[in-house]
Each structure stands twice: as C-alpha cells, then as structure tokens.
C-alpha cells in the first residue's frame, strides 16, 4: 500500500512517497532525504541525538512516524546556518568546546535552539542543565555545552532586542 507525506524541511516543501507506514521521521530525513546531520543514536527516545524542531518544538524524531506528521514544518541541523554564517548556537558550541567526537552535537544544537525558544531556563545554569538532560554526550562535554547554551541565549536575546529597537 502506498502513502505519501508532505513536509516543509528547512524551508523547502517536499512530498515523499512512502512504501511503508513504519518509517520514522528520523529515517525519512536520513534515508529518503539524505539529510544525515540528524543522528541515530539509541533509536528509542533516550539519547536525544535525533532531536529536530517539529512545528516549532524540539522532539525526538526517532519516536515520530513520518506519516503522522503530514503537513508539518521540520527544522534540522542542515537548516540553521545562513550560508557560511553559523547559527549563534553553533558558534557558541565552537567557542566553548561544547563537543568532542561530535556525534551528539547536531541533536545538542537543535535541543539548545528549542530550549532557548521555550524561554524557561533564563540564565540559570541548573535550569539549562535540566532542560538539556534529554541529550546525552558520551564524551561528557556537558560543561562546555551548558556554557555554550547560556552564551548563545545572551547573543540571541541581544539580537532580538536590537530587532525590536
């Protein structure tokens, strides 16, 4: 039985034929759209490596069926930079060594973008750590990750204040 799903991925509308309803959003991104920046870690919603922003909210793409999200808007790591200009969260991860091997980094960055949009953590490192606890880092770069999130948030706050002014 044939299905199809239409998604707006990083600003581009894509209609994808699915031969099987079991395809997760993660597998669709990686295997059908060749967007391999989103990583498959545990594939069971435990590690956060597959985090993407779906309709404005960070979620685990391994626990979402592609077919269930027909019409949705998806932002992945491939869609956050503007040409050669990195996203402020990407810049901050570089500045603060928020990574070592890099496997969890796309998920960390997408989760951080989601956390900053949610605006619940403020400048409290403990709230940032709690808010990022769904993203595991086996190299344990957590210190740098927390610093990066806090700095990126400051940069983005300043930028949005400038926009308002």
């Amino acid at each position: 039985m044939g299905f199809s799903t239409t998604l707006t991925v990083n600003g581009v509308k894509r209609t994808i034929a699915l031969d099987d309803p079991r395809v997760t959003l993660l597998d669709l991104l990686r295997e059908r759209l060749e967007l391999t920046g989103t990583k498959k870690g545990c594939d069971r919603g435990q590690c956060g490596a597959c985090t993407v922003i779906l309709d404005g909210r960070r979620i685990n793409s391994c626990l979402a069926l592609a077919i269930s999200h027909d019409g949705a808007d998806v932002l992945t790591i491939e869609g956050v930079a503007r040409g050669d200009r990195l996203h402020p969260v990407q810049e901050a991860f570089l500045t603060h060594d928020g990574l070592q091997c890099g496997f969890c980094t796309p998920g960390q960055i997408m989760s951080a973008i989601g956390l900053i949009q949610e605006a619940q953590a403020g400048d409290d490192p403990e709230r940032v750590r709690e808010g990022m606890s769904g993203n595991l880092c086996r190299c344990s770069a957590y210190l740098g990750i927390t610093e990066a999130v806090l700095e990126a948030q400051k940069v983005l706050d300043t930028a949005s204040q400038r926009e308002v002014a």
């Binding site: 309803p21 079991r22 997760t24 909210r57 069926l65 269930s68 989601g114 606890s133 993203n135």
Partner: protein
C-alpha cells in the same frame, strides 16, 4: 517492528469505529507506543492515528470551577500554562519532573495515563512476563527487582506504574472522560488503572475501542495550591523514572490542617492514593512528628516483592518530607530541578 495498517480518521466517532477491531491501537504522539513496537512488545495490527483530531487539545475552565484538559494537550504545554500552573503547582512540578524536554513536548495527557510499565522483564521479549504474555510467568520475581512494587502487587505481576503526572492527579480526584461505541462515560482516575491480581494484562478500565478524550480536575483541587509539593527520588538527577515519589498537599486554615491529600508513585501498579494517611492529618496542626505518623499509615500495607524492602522506608521519608515542604508553602516557581529532594527550596512561596 511488525507492520500495521495505518488509518487517520477525521472524527472521534470514526476513530472509535476504526479502533474497535481486535488488534487495533490508538496512536497519539507515539513516544511510548513506537518504542514498544520497535522492541516487539506491542504488536498492533492497525494504528488509528488520533494525533490530529480536532478540539482535544484545549485546557478549558468550566462554569463549576473545574478544569478540563483535552487528551491531546502536550505534557509541556500543560505544565507551562500559567493559569494552570498557578492553580495546580503540584501537577506542573510532577509533569516537569518526568522524561525529557523533547518527550514532554510530544507526549500527550491521554498517552501519559496509558503509558506502560518500565519493568525490564516486560520490555525484554526473551523474559517471561504475565503482562506481555498472560500465563507465561514472571521473571521479575527472583530477578533484579529492587525497583519493583511494594504495594498492590500480586504473585503474577510486581511491576509499577511509571507516571509522575498521574500521582497528583489521583490525589486531586481527577476524572477521566472516555468515549466509545456505547457513548461517553466518566471514570474516576483512582478506578481507571487496575491492580494486576490474576490478570496483569488488563491495565485499565477502558473497553476495546474506548478512547480517553479528557481529564477533569474538580474545583476543590485548586484549594490546595498554596501548600503542595511533588517529590521524586530518582537514580540520577534528571530524566529518570521514580524509585519512589509522593504528591502531598494541605489546605491549612488558621494554622490547622483542614484537609490533606496524598498519593505515591513508583511503588505500585497504579498511582497510589493514601486516604487513611490523609484522614489522620485533618484537624491537626502541621508538624514533623504528625507527618511521620501519616507516612507510617500510608505504608502500613506495604511489603517487599523482592530486594526492594528499602523502598518502604524510603517512601515513608519522602511522604514526611513532602508534607513538611508542603506545609512551608508551595514555591512560587517550580524549582530548577523539579521534584528533586536534593534541590534547595529558596525564594518566594505562593500566596494563593
């Protein structure tokens, strides 16, 4: 994952018709169901996708002062709804102590109630499990069972219900609204989850095809807002299920407890209301010795189901601590580490 038919009905009525076939399961966010399907624990022949049904994602104030939460409201949206969190701070804290931000952004209210146990033997299809395969036996008995039930368990099943959200819900007399082929009906949450007895595969009072459409909290639940806490002991600081948790709330008038509410999580096959403990608190002045007595009453029927006798004393201490913190006043904002017994409680308290 076993393959399945996928249907996406446009109305609740069509969804119920589609899900009344044997082997059908409802799909909302899928944060628990897809995980179970990947592991071969759940093997539905048909998925009825209800995630886009209209009108089930609202938080409504009803004329009688009760609050109605649609089954598709996301856990994060409920916890962060300012009006809801102000009136139900214990529920907001419980929600925020569960899972991760990504999962809370997806997981729904109805799905939270229906999530399956995290017993490792239930998850491991090579193990015997009466819940997964009725009559197969229970490898958790005599296995690694330090996190298993101390209340309400049976010889057939010693698994616990994993929800944080359900613990304050049952303390505050939440009612589950369900819809099915025979029409709408209401089930008090305390009667919604079933004890395992000889049929641990039957976990809820839902009939085949019945669907949760909303959870309702009575107006009286808001009268506990000034003195309530949810406390949860985990094996790591964040993103872990409860070893033991407690929702404790007091209505205090003129320095005396007018009424108390208590429920425990992580200790039983269902969210565990402790009415007898509540009763001994009414009419007394709050103090540590009284709360310890209430904790002893709450755990009076507890017995280990394996290497988990430590959970009985742990639960007593968490109950006493939760009441002590509740008496001191609900924090004006959910602590940075929600429900953590190790979090410093500082700053303002709510003046409801």
């Amino acid at each position: 994952m076993k393959t399945f038919d996928y249907v996406k009905p446009a109305t609740v009525k069509d969804a119920i018709a589609a899900a009344s076939e044997p082997g059908a399961a409802y799909l909302a966010a899928g944060t628990n169901l897809l995980d179970l399907m990947k592991g071969g624990i759940a093997r539905p022949g048909r998925l009825v996708d209800i995630s886009h049904l209209p009108d089930l994602d609202q938080i409504e104030d009803l004329p009688d002062g009760s609050v109605r939460i649609g089954a598709l409201v996301r856990n994060a949206d409920l916890a962060h709804d300012p009006s809801f969190a102000r009136r139900f701070p214990v529920i907001a804290e419980a929600l925020l102590s569960g899972a991760s931000a990504q999962l809370r952004n997806a997981a729904t209210v109805g799905g939270n109630l229906l999530q399956r146990t995290r017993c490792a033997y239930f998850y491991d299809v090579a193990s015997a499990c009466n819940k997964r395969d009725p009559g197969a036996g229970c490898d958790a008995r005599g296995g690694d069972n330090r996190l298993h039930a101390i209340l309400g368990w049976s010889e057939r099943c010693i698994a616990t219900h994993p929800s944080d959200f359900c613990v304050p819900l049952v303390a505050f007399d939440a009612v589950v609204e369900v819809d099915g082929k025979k029409g709408r009906r209401e089930i008090p949450l305390d009667k919604f989850h079933l004890l395992p007895g000889d049929t641990p595969e039957r976990e809820s009072a839902l009939e085949p095809g019945e669907m949760i459409v909303a959870v309702r909290l009575p107006a009286e639940a808001t009268t506990f807002a000034a003195h309530g806490r949810y406390l949860k002991v985990r094996e790591r600081t964040s993103y872990a299920f409860a070893v033991v948790s407690a929702a404790a709330a007091l209505r205090i008038a003129d320095g005396t407890i007018a009424q108390a509410r208590l429920a425990l999580g992580g200790v039983a096959p269902k969210p565990w209301r402790a009415r007898e403990a509540e009763a001994i608190l009414a009419g007394k002045r709050p103090d540590a010795a009284l709360f310890r007595r209430a904790a002893e009453v709450a755990l009076a029927g507890a017995k280990p189901s394996g290497d988990n006798g430590f959970k009985i004393e742990l639960a007593r201490r968490i109950v006493a601590r939760a009441f002590t913190l509740a008496a001191a006043g609900t924090p004006a904002r959910v602590p940075a580490l929600p429900a953590s017994p190790f979090a410093a409680v500082s700053g303002d308290v709510i003046h409801a």
